[in-house]
Amino acid sequence: MRVASCSLLLTMSVLSVPIAAQVRVKVAPPAPPAPAIAHAQAQMHADFNDRGAWLDSLDEGELKLLTDSITLLANEIAKAQIAGLEAGKLGSLQGRLGALEGRLGALHGRLGELQGQLGRVDVRVGNLPQPRTAELRHPLSPKELSRLLKQVGSDPHGAELPPQDSINMGNLTIANGTALGRIATLGQLDVFGTVNGDAIALNGDIIVHRGAHITGDALAIGGTVRLDGGTVDGEMRSLDRAVVPAAATAASSSGFLSILDELQHVMGALVVMVLLGFGAMVFAEERLRIVSSAIEARFGRSLFAGILTEVSFIPALVLAVVLLVITIIGIILLPVAIPGMFVLGALLTALGFLAVSRVAGQALTRRAATVSVRGAELRSMLAGLFFFFGLWLVAAVLSWVPVLGSLLHALAFVVTWAAATVGLGAAVITRGGGRPTTAPVVAAPAGSELGWQTPTPISGIAAARRQATNTPEV
């Protein structure tokens, strides 16, 4: 009985190693039925990895010692049986068998330890019916494997997987004449038989050999699907990797991503306008002042002119094209004139918007500490820009709120459009700031710290040229 028990345990340990523990073991075909010795001999074919030792667990010497002991013991038992089973000798053998069982128990503990180290163990599985050695590598820890399976399951281009404990770990061959249901393996999948359902290979190829039949989809993630004479009723699909899909991401974080996207655009536009503002302050300061003055003095007229300009832009463009194409010189000028009209419109709009920002910023920074005139103008303009773009930033941040987000966007649009229209109109009626809108230029009172604060009497003088200030500029 003890011999049989030992043999059984040993057999289980040897045969279970490649499948359950993924230890690198090469197993020979089953030997003829001479139970104890045959299994012991099978163990002699144990192989080890290239580094000559088991990874982080059993070592070669330990396993060989165990194997030799069992072999020796089996030989002695056989001799004892032949010699007539002397009582004392048999008792001694039984004692050694008990010790051996203890060591086998320890071996099982080590094997269990190995089972938790799938990600770090190379696998070589012997195919018992056909002693062909296959190399499998699946450098995934259980946590990584779990994550991969989750990704595949949630990826719309992935597939529904069997339960994790039903997924084969390693290369898998479905033999000819074999019919299985939905199958998934972590490694290469060779199909010679039939898969009734989807066939899925994770980190491996699917090869559909001649005569093979997959009734569902063939999905290879991190590999390819290759037809080698077989049939796939469904789709053959290869993914470079499984990902949590953008659609799913969008479902869970679409608000965040769209907010970031919108913020990106708003911030980009703000940066552009700030740079344009600096440029205008340097190269077109006087024009900016004149347009600003026009806005203050003739708000209604500027708004009307802006709307008129917007409405008439396209007809004017068409008219310009028509007028140009009826003359030879016009045709020559056409490639320059049409883009030029767009550039002119953009420049006027930008100038006007900067001027509106400046005027609006004056109201916002009225109580701010006094600085130089140019400093105050710059501060006003930046404050105005931050105000207008701030509306868009707030709308973007709160865009996830169903009604409020839409309302804020509408508000930002209306305010921005109104500002741009007024600015455009002011820029148009001042001819781009080249012509003051009002006749007299009224100097600010002497000693005024900031000329722009009091240039325009309420009585209706539209704008005034700022006097030079005594405040040193910074």
Binding site: V232, G234, R237, S238, L239, V243, R379
Partner: protein
């Protein structure tokens, strides 16, 4: 000012970096051919490079698509009952965001092969993709091309094995070149749009009588027809030029001298604006 400036700079630097993150992936999809029933094929692709060619063999189609997963999603659906095949990108993703993402340095790309044994009603919606489409030897019954921003080339290097009822060409800002169109075996060609020019080259022969309805602006329409075919043109050009050489004025139409003798005929009804119409009737 300083905190504001710093905040602004940080925001300008970080927000685009975060919001613009891309996640590229590649998907291959194929199906085995199970029959040769007529199939409706819809292909959509936003930007990057697109290639389509016949795929002889046992596959109905084979597609490889490389795209930014953050901006778009791939589609590979086949309705076997209704014989409808939908490939490429989701139609909902055909916006500027996807186009911008797919046109960057890494670039989206899609390669598609379709089995020539299957009669197809084919729709290609290519957004801003640069397309190379070879349809020679296929069985195209209807073809609808929607080309957006980038230039595209479509050719029929060998005869279309099915009679094509109509070829609809809707072109946006990009130009398009159709080569060996005489092999398309098409009865009617409808053209609209085209800011960057449309070039129809019929090649060496015209397989059957074809009528071209063109409504083109800006870019102009150039048609090259072999002189073995008779041609009639009814053109209305606004602010453009039309100077047919080798044509005779008959009523409101321009007709080639070989109209009565020619075995195949091309009738052109064109409305062009600002771009002009040019018809070359030469060659073999």
């Amino acid at each position: 000012m300083r905190p504001t400036t710093v905040s602004l700079a940080l925001a300008a630097a970080l927000v685009p970096a975060v919001a613009g993150a891309q996640q590229w992936r590649t998907i291959e999809s194929a199906r085995q051919l199970t029959g040769t029933d007529a199939t409706t094929v819809s292909v959509t692709f936003a930007g990057g490079k697109f290639e389509l060619a016949p795929l002889p063999g046992k596959l109905l189609y084979q597609m490889q698509i490389h795209y930014d997963e953050q901006a778009a999603d791939a589609v590979h659906e086949f309705d076997a009952a209704n014989h409808q095949l939908t490939l490429g990108m989701s139609h909902a993703n055909m916006g500027w965001r996807a186009l911008r993402a797919m046109k960057n340095d890494e670039g989206g790309r899609m390669t598609l092969g379709l089995n020539p044994a299957v009669p197809m009603d084919l729709t290609l919606e290519l957004g801003g993709a640069e397309a190379e489409v070879e349809l020679g030897g296929m069985r195209i019954r209807n073809l609808k091309l929607q080309i957006g921003l980038a230039g595209s080339r479509v050719s029929f290097s060998s005869p279309n094995l099915a009679e094509m009822e109509a070829l609809s060409l809707d072109v946006g800002l990009g130009g398009v070149q159709l080569e060996d169109l005489g092999n398309a075996n098409v009865a009617q060609i409808n053209i609209s749009g085209g800011m960057d020019g449309i070039n129809l080259d019929f090649g060496d022969r015209v397989m059957r009588d074809v009528k071209i309805n063109a409504d083109v602006a800006f870019g102009g329409l150039k048609i090259q027809i072999p002189n073995s075919a008779g041609v009639t043109i009814k053109a209305e050009t606004k602010l453009g030029s039309f100077k047919p050489q080798g044509f005779t004025r008959v009523g409101d139409a321009w007709v080639t001298p070989n109209w009565d003798q020619a075995s195949t005929h091309v009738t052109i009804v064109a409305n062009t604006a600002l771009g002009g119409l040019q018809v070359d009737h030469a060659g073999p």
